[in-house]
């Protein structure tokens, strides 16, 4: 590791470049403060940039995210480090924090890359594409996805055979295998934590057959199948390439379930599943879509109307608790859902040809490891603790450190943006107080 003791100063450090971190950074930057935005992935945009459309307006997610992300990227007061993580943050005094950032090599000089994709075409390697949730492959030299920001290639060094084909074809000579991990020391006056959420891993619920039965997929995989930059030519079953026509959603997968350690509601799964069901009815007009639910929580503005709209379009809602999913024995890849019909009080079975698990929101506990001297408290569900959740929801257990978006609990995009507004306002007050 090459250690670079660069002593760089910023007004604010924002950790996490999802919609919440990006919005908070932008608010601070437009007020005149210098911001360092640290993102661990190859692109900013978080989960939102991967979505198809958004509830309840059905606006195209990419169309909303792209201008926002490019505004963040181009703002002169914002410095972005992608492929980077915070290793520690120490509070020295009020308005004085020191942080260490670890910046992994991308092996491409971002500023010089034209995203021509020639390296991608030349690279012989194919590995699962994490940005398509492993539904399709990608090269070891690759542009993360078409609306990535920065839109520049990266080399997946763990899967690279060091053949040099990418470097040979690169017209700008911007591939650089001499890049090394950098350790960067910075000082800042305030910190915003926007590290977002993790998705429930359905492998932890073997009774739903995820991983075993290829036509059981997650809601994030369905988001990708429905997005304009989708992995397949249309919505298909990964098990055999069939266009599905009897699709089931299993709501609350990994939410409201103390037995798997997550007793709370994820707040977004009902609505994103209803959204996807409407998009599926549009993409596959002949398809039947059934949503198995415990309760539909349509609490937000326009949500109940959105739910009724789905019903009106013919989406079938069944109040049912799924016990087990198994594959049919005739090898057609269909799935039998065994469930308790709550209204009728009986156990039933139903056959579907594709199942989507509406996976829940889990806390990302990364931020609790950043602070060695102070304690960044987590709440009882392991999200970042809000020290004054009613009056000052962005405050954490450390003065001068604020939380934005789903790092503090499950919420949708509008609420993440509101939360980011709150965090940036609090951070600005903290910055100007003497």
């Amino acid at each position: 590791m090459s250690i670079l003791q660069k002593n760089i100063s910023f007004d604010a450090l924002v950790v996490g470049g999802g919609i919440a971190g990006g919005e908070a950074a932008l608010n601070l930057a437009t007020t005149g403060f210098k911001v360092l935005l640290v993102e661990k992935e190859l692109s900013i945009g978080g989960k939102m940039i991967m979505l198809s459309k958004v509830f309840p307006t059905l606006d195209c997610a990419a169309c909303i995210t792209t201008p926002k992300v490019s505004e963040i990227s181009r703002h002169p007061n914002i410095t972005i480090y992608t492929s980077s993580e915070v290793s520690n943050i120490d509070k020295i005094a009020e308005n004085n924090f020191e942080a260490t950032i670890i910046r992994k090599p991308r092996y491409v000089v971002i500023e010089d890359c034209t995203a021509c994709q020639l390296c991608e075409q030349a690279c012989p390697v194919s590995v699962p594409d994490q940005y398509q949730y492993n539904l399709v492959g990608r090269k070891a030299a690759f542009i993360p996805f078409s609306i990535a920001s920065p839109k520049a290639a990266a080399i997946d060094i763990d899967n690279c055979i060091l053949c040099g084909a990418c470097e040979k074809v690169c017209p700008t000579n911007c591939i650089d295998f001499t890049q090394e991990t950098e350790e960067i020391q910075i000082s800042v006056k305030t910190v915003i934590l926007a590290t977002g959420f993790k998705l429930f891993d359905p492998l932890l619920m073997p009774r739903y057959g995820y991983g075993l039965f290829k036509n059981v997929i997650t809601s994030m995989q369905m988001e990708r199948e429905l997005a304009p930059t989708r992995p397949f030519n249309t919505v298909l079953r990964p098990g055999d390439g069939k266009v599905p026509d009897k699709i089931a959603y299993v709501l609350c997968t990994g939410s409201r379930d103390a037995s798997i350690g997550n007793p709370i509601c994820s707040q977004i799964c009902c609505m994103y599943s209803i959204k996807q069901s409407q998009l599926l009815m549009g993409a596959l007009p002949m398809a039947d879509v059934t949503i198995y639910y415990l309760n539909i929580r349509s609490f937000g503005k326009g949500f109940e109307e959105f739910y009724q709209q789905a019903k009106g379009m013919g989406v079938n809602f069944v109040k049912g608790k799924i016990g087990k999913i198994r594959e049919t024995e005739n090898g057609n890849g269909n799935l039998i859902l065994r469930y308790e019909n709550i209204n009728e009080g009986i156990v039933k079975e139903a056959e579907h040809d594709m199942v989507i698990l509406s996976v829940g929101v889990l806390p990302n506990q990364d931020a609790s490891n950043f602070f060695k001297k102070e304690e960044l408290k987590l709440d009882s569900y392991k999200f970042i603790y809000q020290a004054d959740s009613l009056i000052s929801p962005a405050r954490t257990s450390i003065d001068g450190v604020f939380v934005a978006g789903t790092a503090s609990g499950p919420m949708d995009i509008p609420d993440s943006i509101l939360s980011a507004g709150s965090a940036s306002s609090e951070a600005i007050s903290y910055l100007i107080q003497k």
């Binding site: 075409q121 012989p124 390697v125 194919s126 590995v127 539904l135 399709v136 492959g137 990608r138 090269k139 060094i157 763990d158 899967n159 690279c160 055979i161 060091l162 053949c163 040099g164 470097e167 040979k168 690169c170 000579n173 591939i175 650089d176 295998f177 001499t178 290829k214 992995p231 397949f232 030519n233 298909l236 079953r237 990964p238 098990g239 055999d240 390439g241 069939k242 266009v243 026509d245 002949m286 890849g333």
Partner: protein
């Protein structure tokens, strides 16, 4: 070692071994790619037909075929009368 611009992979090659697993993965992909492209050279095929020809599990056929579409070697053709399965063909 002197580092020549445009040939920096040589520098890393001196410092880092490529794991056997990565080499095997590449071999396997090349094998599948060749088999799929050869099969499609003969005629346009559905995933079911490819599965039988290549004697390969269907999910693997889907994953690799979709990857070959993404990489520009293959394209989707018509869907059957039931609107269920597509035919795939070489990209001309």
């Amino acid at each position: 070692m002197e580092i020549e611009k445009g040939k920096t992979f040589k520098y890393l090659r001196e410092k880092r071994d490529v794991p056997q697993k990565v080499k095997d993965q590449l071999k396997e992909f090349n094998r599948i790619k060749k088999a799929m492209l050869d099969a499609l050279k003969e005629s346009d095929l559905t995933i079911d037909q490819l599965t039988q020809k290549l004697n390969m599990p269907k999910p693997e056929v889907v994953y690799n075929l979709m990857s070959l579409i993404k990489y520009g070697f293959v394209q989707s053709g018509d869907v059957d009368d039931m609107d269920e399965y597509y035919t795939y063909k070489l990209k001309k």
